[in-house]
Amino acid sequence: METNNKKAWLYLLPAGIFLAVFMVYPLIDVFIYSLEESYNFASQTSRGTGLFNFSYILHDPYFLQAVRNTALCVAITVPISTGLSLLIAFGLSSIKALKNLFQTIYFLPYVTNTLAVGLVFMILFKKTAYTDGMVNLLIHFFHGPTVDFIDGPYWAKMFVLCFYVIWIVMPFKILILTSALASVDVSYYNAAKVDGTKGWRIFLRITLPMISPTVFYLIITGFIGAFKEYSDAVALFGTDLNAAKMNTIVGYIYDMLYGDAGGYPSYAAAAAILLFAIILTITVINLLVSRKHVYY
């Protein structure tokens, strides 16, 4: 038993070392940075410890803007993308003809590069000297006014960002939900049919509870993913997100580290810790809610 234990630890060692060096140590380090005032990489010195960094970023309008943007993005994209994916997956599982074709079409965004998608969205939404963009042509068709989605009002930019995020996260969700729906035993549906259950009631009372663990998984990972939103915003609005008022929390962290105004690892660390706290809180709330509504 004793030797077995030693062996087990030995086998775990390589993975353990990697985890310790690249995961655990940086985590602790970030936490320490966040408490050190004006830490300097070059001299490895700080002016003292305390909550100064947190106080600073919580008063930084750019950070508050980033938090607002991120929260809005999460609140809009997670429910819509999950709901739409569920609808599409349900539709896919109900049809027989061309099912594979549609599955492929819906999965395409997943294998497409973020920046390439960003380019396409530019063509769709960006207003230039030569054209107002495809979407504006559509708006004109319905006699609406021109909207500048990329450099225009805040709500227009937020709309494009959310549209983009929803579009890019859906393929994975559809894929997972389609397989979850396929795994529901057909005899449940037959039993419901014999009992005269109507379609909507079958969906709410049987299908949804049966796939609830998968839906729950997608909601949790959806929340986490949306909170970490950054690259999509860059693809749409360029690297100077603060100027576009479209920065996100992760974008703020990046700017603090490497941006034009960068070189403030302490602020970046404090922001990262706050992001971590927010995600943790939301996930715990999710878990508590799921106890009542998820059936394993």
Partner: protein, 396 residues
């Protein structure tokens, strides 16, 4: 509720040109009297489940009609037929409690039929009491044993008071002891409710023990329909004879020569030995088992009948040990069962390894000897055609 099936046929289309269409059920023609417990019996792939699903309405027949009493329900969807179906895997909703599961069909009722919550609970409790699970109402299916789950499934099928109750392999997911218990239970529930019940099984013992009527099927074709004892005593063909009974019937390769019955090369039975009522099969057929479409001329085993090769089937309980008996077998051993004794022996013309015969323990053979001689009881020996498997002769 009387259930009538008229020329019922189900063909599944083949997937490709090489893969021909499969006829799962072929020309099923049968009337199930009201209030009976009917067992559809056959090996897997014989079309019994497809028949059940067609009666239920989940499968559409390719041809033929289904009637409940005088109402043609062939084109009516399952929910309007008033059937209850118990699935092989029970299909209990895992996220609902027992009570919610049983109440679920009632929740689908609309309009005038709509029930209050109290009425639904009352009806669910009534159904639960009938299958004796009323003390488990708050549990989830996962927290129940297989037998209890089975009862919940039956209660859920009964709660809407169906006109016909259908069960797909109701006992196959239970262990041997529970199976015995549950089949008695099914019989009791059916008797108490008086609902016409049709169940599917591949276990002949199960079908024989509780059914009022059994329907033996093979390759989508009905082989025989009748009361269990009648089908056992009077099988239409070799398949039915082999399918019913444990231990199974002993089949010998033999021939009919000049009015004598030979097993292997030995002439073992004369007509006189077999008794006067050893006649061609259709003479002893009851009226409704003649509906299988096979016509046989009635008549006694004629002394001048032509020589034919036949299968000779003798039920295990049809033997008794007699020094002067005409059938001589090599003794392999004796298994003592208490009241009875199983004699194991072999014979060159036997179709298989070991002949199993059941005799009274007083009638047991001398185990010191190498040979055992048997006589055969009248009524336990059947003669089948080697070409078609149809029964040619048998005593009644």
């Amino acid at each position: 509720m009387k259930v009538t099936l008229k020329d019922l046929t189900k063909r599944f289309p083949g997937r490709s040109r090489k893969d021909p269409a499969v006829t799962a059920v072929n020309d099923f023609d049968f009337e199930i009297p009201s209030g009976q417990l009917v067992g559809l019996l056959g090996p897997s792939g014989c079309g019994k489940s497809t028949t059940l699903l067609m009666i239920c309405g989940l499968e559409k027949p390719t041809q033929g009609r289904i009637f409940f009493d005088d109402e043609d329900v062939t084109d009516i969807p399952p929910e309007e037929r008033g059937v209850g179906l118990v699935f092989q895997n029970y299909a209990l909703y895992p996220h609902m409690t027992v009570e919610q599961n049983i109440m679920f069909p009632l929740g689908n009722l609309k309009g005038e039929q709509k029930l209050s919550k109290e009425e639904m609970k009352r009806r669910a409790l009534e159904a639960a009491k009938l299958v004796q699970i009323d003390q488990l109402m708050g549990r989830r299916p996962k927290e129940l044993s297989g037998g209890q789950q089975q009862r919940v499934a039956i209660a859920r099928a009964l709660v809407k008071m169906p006109r016909v109750l259908l069960m797909d392999e109701p006992l196959s997911n239970l262990d041997a002891r529970l199976r015995l218990q549950t089949r008695v239970e099914i019989r009791r529930i059916q008797r108490e409710t008086g609902i016409t019940t049709i169940f599917v099984t591949h276990d002949q013992e199960e079908a024989m023990s509780i059914s009022d009527t059994i329907v033996v099927m093979k390759d989508g074709v009905v082989q025989q329909i009748g009361r269990p004892q009648d089908v056992y005593d009077d099988p239409n063909n070799l398949f039915v004879a082999k399918f019913l009974g444990t231990p199974p019937i002993n089949v010998f390769s033999g021939s009919l020569r000049g009015g004598r019955l030979c097993i292997g090369e030995e002439e073992v039975f004369s007509i006189d030995e077999l008794g006067a009522d050893f006649v061609a099969a259709s003479a002893s057929d009851s009226a409704d088992s003649g509906s299988d479409g096979v016509r046989r001329e009635p008549g006694k085993l004629a002394k001048d009948a032509g020589d034919t090769d036949v299968w000779i089937g003798i039920r295990p309980e049809g033997f008794y040990v007699d020094e002067k008996g005409p059938l001589t077998c090599t003794l392999k051993g004796v298994e003592v069962m208490g009241r009875d004794v199983t004699v194991l022996s072999s014979h060159p013309a036997f179709d298989g390894e070991t002949i199993r015969t059941i005799v009274d323990s007083e009638n047991r053979p001398d185990t010191g000897r190498k040979e055992v001689h048997f006589r055969v009881r009248p009524g336990k020996i059947f003669v089948f055609s080697k070409e078609t498997g149809e029964r040619l002769y048998g005593s009644r």
